[in-house]
Amino acid sequence: MRFVNWIVVYGPNYLSGLAWTAIIALAASVGAVVWGGVLLLIRLSGGLWTNLAVETYVQLFRNTPVLLSIYLIYFGFPLIGVVWPAVICGGLALVLQNGAYISEIFRGSVKTIDLVQFDAAKSLGLSAWGTFRKVVLPQVLVYGLPSLGGQVILLLKDTSLLSAISVAELTMNAKLLTEQTGAAYEAFVVVAVLYLLLVVCLELTARFALRAVRWRPRHDAL
């Protein structure tokens, strides 16, 4: 009863936060996939040193928390003269962090592409960029689709950390509501349910996408 009361009175307050969370998550996931693709391209076309650089980058972002990256960009960039709004800083940190994970997903997917296809591409006269665009990229996106879906859900949950640099998204909404009304847990329970709704939407989208590309597990999957 208390919850119904709460939702009726404070429901609309959550809408702007929900919209911001959805927008940030969407933009950051697109950015992370693009950045992961760029990292993949660097890895595929580089020599020993660029490979090492990308590997170091990925290990660095895999073993450090997202919050440190967010603080680094939010507090550090103004010191070198780059003053961006908090949303952009947070979004950039999310893109850098998740791009590292996504490039790892892509790297695993590239391994499942049959080597014959690269020979065929070369015999067709495709350049390196052409091979990447026509052979590697479509297959990598399709093979990695389940893992990409999981990573997008993780990204959605990481957007809640942007509330630490006072971005007006869902968790920030809950914090403000709790401070304004003094209610201990109603605000956060509603926010948790809203996040779960977003996660369910993402999972349904991922399932629809898998069906749309007729994804099948590979027979020689490791």
């Binding site: 660095l60 895999r62 928390p65 440190l68 603080y71 949950k157 509330s163 914090k175 779960l196």
Partner: protein
Amino acid sequence: MLQLLLIGACYTLGLAVAGIAFGTVLGLLLTPLSFVRCRPLRALYHVYVFFTRGTPLLVLALLIFYGLPALNFSQGPYVAGTIVLTIYSSAFFAEVFRGGVLAIQRTHLESGRSLGLPPLAFLRRIIAPLALRYALPPYVNVCVMMVKASSILSIISVWELTLAAREIIERTLLVFTVLGIAAAFYFLMCFGVDRLGRLAERYLMRRGFVGEHA
């Protein structure tokens, strides 16, 4: 400044270890719940795992941090932080252990059943060693995730490495230096946990490994 960060790193490690320890225990208690015959209990398990894994850790932490005093349980941020990490990790650990049990091949289970062991011995001799070996790599992954997740607790004023770094930054504005050192500490901790996990895997492999890693 370096000492402050070092002490913060120790607090982070302590929080993570406490969360992992209690979370493992809770996860071990939860996993059998997913295998009982009673369907509502299985549904309860899935609901718990879905709710705990689906909400961001920050939301869970705020919920427990602000909600515990309402239940007259105000013991301070460290206890609240440990409880949050325990609950969050228990869902992941329960799924990891469940995956480990499900990965056991049917042939092993059938040949084990043909031995006619009592249930406890069956669990001890057949399920536990096999599930342990299958579950170890994702278990180590979750442990690394918990070390990183402890940094989120800094937002609910649990003093550890990230909060220490943030306090120093607010006073000295040496952003890149301080965060670089903090990142190095986290890197060492996560890398260390990963290596420990690989040592454990190798030890278990020497004691007898099952599976098609030929």
